[in-house]
Symmetry: C2
Subunit: 143 residues, 2 copies
Amino acid sequence: MKLSTRTRYAMRAMLELANGYGKGPLQTRVIAKNQDISTKYLEQIMSALKSTGLIRSQRGAKGGYILANPPEKIKLSDVFDVFEGPVVTVECVANENYCSRSADCVAKQVWGEVQRAVRNVLQSTTLQDVIDKAKITKSDYQI
Amino acid sequence: MKLSTRTRYAMRAMLELANGYGKGPLQTRVIAKNQDISTKYLEQIMSALKSTGLIRSQRGAKGGYILANPPEKIKLSDVFDVFEGPVVTVECVANENYCSRSADCVAKQVWGEVQRAVRNVLQSTTLQDVIDKAKITKSDYQI
DNA sequence: ACTATACCTACTGCTATAATGGGAATAGTA
DNA sequence: TACTATTCCCATTATAGCAGTAGGTATAGT
């Protein structure tokens, strides 16, 4: 159950944007360099983040991306869901009609609990929470 | 972050074995039929489960598989780990030297929390727990 | 005009997944 | 002994998704 690099890159990019929130747009190129990510690949990721409404863009020179909402309003689950779907698990948890065993299936319940555990962590934490945590634990922090 | 079908099949097969624990070996063919899984594919999965020591086999006619330990001694995480590795997340969480940002990386901490949440669910539940739950909620249960 | 940026589309190599298939070794049974 | 049901072992395949590359267009600032 690995995370895709897309999700990891997306999270790191969003944390960069959160960190620079209020200081104008941040460019893909800059984020890519800071995070040591392929610029071209990150471009696609930013595009996806934009299409879900998490970030806004400014085209042209001095353009870039900014968060669509303040970092304390963006939950980690918002970012996570862009590429990992509605979280973890199994088709049968989401779709009641997926399989004939559905009603009685206990395996389904197990995966449902795992799903809730993950969601609980990601929904109860905002980008701002993460930034704050970093500032507390490290003066010389990095994201 | 989908689960592989291997893991889902493995879990269902283990639950079948748990359900029939003490009644002699259960055959791949039977499990496959009950669970509507390709027999040949399940064969490989059973082989992997055996090689990790979770189940034992009896070859030849009237053979099959049995749990290596009673169902109350087998945690769901034992089954999960066979195919999903040491759980969720990201190389940098497991390997301290994976990336130069490691020491200060807050993204890493996020994924670490997710990992712990998942492990917590899977380590605190045994096969027997799941069977019991099914018996309570349904007289006509199915796994 | 020039430049830096977002934006768009297509392609590529790679790997893992989810099977399928054939057959050998083993053990019970008639 | 012959027969049969099983585990066991190995190879092959089709597909899909991931991660990344590439080239170009539209837009905005200077």
